[in-house]
Subunit: 373 residues, 2 copies
Amino acid sequence: MDTVKKQMFSLDSYRMECGREIPVTIGFETYGQLNEAKDNAILVCHFFSATSHAAGKYSPDDTEVGWWDALIGPGKAIDTDRYFVICSDTLCNIQFKNPHVITTGPRSINPQTGERYGITFPVFTYRDMTGIQRELVRSLGIEKLVAVLGPSAGGIQTLNWAVHYPDMMEACVVVISGAQMPVLTSLAYLQAAIDVIALDPKWKDGAYNEGEEPEAGLHLALSLMNLAAYQYAWYDDAFSRDAKRDVISTSYQSVPPFVQKFRGAVSERMLPYDASHYVYTARAAMMHDISRGFASLEEALGKIRARVLMIPCTSDLLFPPQYSRQAADIINRQGGRASYYEIDSPNGHMAGVVDAHLFAEPLAAFLRGQDIT
Amino acid sequence: MDTVKKQMFSLDSYRMECGREIPVTIGFETYGQLNEAKDNAILVCHFFSATSHAAGKYSPDDTEVGWWDALIGPGKAIDTDRYFVICSDTLCNIQFKNPHVITTGPRSINPQTGERYGITFPVFTYRDMTGIQRELVRSLGIEKLVAVLGPSAGGIQTLNWAVHYPDMMEACVVVISGAQMPVLTSLAYLQAAIDVIALDPKWKDGAYNEGEEPEAGLHLALSLMNLAAYQYAWYDDAFSRDAKRDVISTSYQSVPPFVQKFRGAVSERMLPYDASHYVYTARAAMMHDISRGFASLEEALGKIRARVLMIPCTSDLLFPPQYSRQAADIINRQGGRASYYEIDSPNGHMAGVVDAHLFAEPLAAFLRGQDIT
C-alpha cells in the first residue's frame, strides 16, 4: 500500500445532540481508490484511544502501522484493491498531542474567543461523531457505503450509523461492542476516569496550561482503562508477581516491582494523550445507549436495515459477549439480519484489535455478501 | 443465639513482617461455647471491608445480623451448638468509625507520642494478621483449631494460617479467594484505590483531621472495589440505564441518574470507613502472595497439612475461579488433600458472602470430616 496521506475535513457549524453548534475540523485517512460509481466505500471507525490511522504507514520509515493493518490492505479482508476505505479522527480525540491527529475539542482554540474552549466545549456523543462522519462521506460524493465497521467505540459509532442512517450502508460489523455501555464499564472505567482526573488538583476544571497538566489523574484514569483491556491471565503474565522481589516496606508508598512495571507502561502510553479530551471521550463512551431517542432498545435496533455481524470476544472484560448476543437476538427477533461470530483469545477486549486474524475470513465473506452462521 | 458481646485482645508488642514492633489491640467476638478439651474451636476470618461481627446481633433491637449469620448459629452449617466460633477485627480495620470495631491502625493513638500514628503506622500484611490471631487463639487456651475459614480476604488469612501454622488446624475452607492476589485485581482495585486516595488534596499524607477527610478520594476508591464485587448483569439491574432520563447536558459534570444512584449507594456504605485504614488494608490485600518467603508457590502450598476446601464463584470478578482451581491442583499434586466446590450465582464475588446457602451443606459435611468431591 502507498504511504498514507492525512487529510482534513471541516464544517462551519455542526449541531450536536446537546443543542450547541460549533465549527468542527477532523482529520481522516483513506486507503484504496474510490470507483467511478462511488459505491465501493467502506467506513472504518476507531476505538476509544485510537486515531484515524487504521492502516499503513505515513512514511516508509515508520516503525508502526495502523491499528487494523492486519485487516486493511491489498488482498486483505478489507481489500483496498477492491474497496475505498475511510477512517476519521473523532472529536475530542484523546491523542491530541499526536502530530498526525486533527481534531476539535476542549484543547482547541474557540474561534469566537481566541482562547482554548476548555470545558466550555460542548459534551459530544458518538451519535454526533457519526453525524459528522456522514457529512464527510457525503462530501466525497458517496451516497451509500458498502459497510460501516469498527471495534469497541468504533462499534458504537457503527451502531449509531446503522440505527440513525439505516439506508446509508449495506452492511455493518460491530466488533467487541454492544448496544448500550454496560453499567459496570460505565461506572468503573469511564465515570471513574472522569472523576479521577477531576480529583487531580492540577485539573483546574480543564483550564490547565501546557506543562502543568493533571498527569497524575490522567495516569490513573488510563490505568483503569488499561486494566480492562485484556484479562486476568494476561496481566499475571505481563506484570508478573515475584514474591522474592517483594519488599515489605514500612511505607505504604513503596510499591512492588510489578506495580512499577505497570506504571511505566502506562506512562509511556500516555505521552500523546490529553486529560480533557480523555474526560470528554470517556463521557461519550459512557453515554452510549442506542435506545436514546426511542421508546425502547427494541425500537432502536428495529430501525436497522443493514446486514449486521456482531463479533465479540469470549474473555472481554469491557463488553462481555452477552451484550453482542443480546443485540443480535433483538435484531433478529424483529426480522432483521444479524449474525454472530465469537472469537476466543487470551487477549480479552483487545483481541478485537490485536487478533483481527481470528475474524478476518468471516469478515471478508460477510463484506462480499455471504451469510455468517 | 444469645446477643453477641464484643471482646478485646491486646499484645504489648507484635513484630510485623516489615520488621517494626508495635502494641496491638483488636476486637473479637465468639459464638457458642468452648468445650473442656478446648478442641471444638473454629476461627472465622472476615473480608476486606467487614468486621468481626460474623453472626448474631449485639442487641435484640439490631436490624442487621452478622455477615455470615446464614452459616453460623445453632444447627447451622457452622453449628454453635457444637463449635466455639471466633472472629476478630483486622488491624487497620476499614470501619474505624463503627463503634463496635476495635482495631489498631494509622488513626489510632501511638502510645509513644500521644498522637495518631498516621502513616508512621507500619504497613501490615495478612500474614501479620494471622500471627496476631494465633496469639489470640492461644490466649484462649486453644492449641489446635477444628478449622480456619473465611471469604475473600478471610480466605487470604485462612491460607496464611494453613501455610504458616500447618499443625494448628484440622481443616481450612477458602471461599472466593486464591493463593496470590491476581495482578488485575491488585492494580485495578487495590493499588488504584491507594493512588486515588493519595491524589485527593485532603489526604495530606494521612495527616487529615476529623471532619477534613479525603472523602472524594475514599468515595472513588470504594466505588472501584464495589464495582468488582458483583458482575455485569447485576449492575445493569441495580443501577439501570434509562435513556429516556438521559440529559445530554453541555457540561461534562452532569451525570445521568444511574450514576447518581450509584454514587448515593457508595456514600451510604462509606459512612463508617476511614481513608487511611482503607489504604493500609488495600495494601495488605494487594501484597497477598502466599509464596512470599518460599522458593515457589508449590513449596508454600506444600506446607499445608490441613484438609482444604476451595469454594469459588463462577462469576467472580475479583478472584475468578481459576485461582482456586490452581491452588487446589497444586496442593493435590503434592499429596495434599484439597477439594473444590464451585458455586454459580448472579452475585459474582459477593456470592461468597450473600449466597452462603449455596455452599452450606458441603461446608457442614467438610467440617464433619467428610470429603467433598
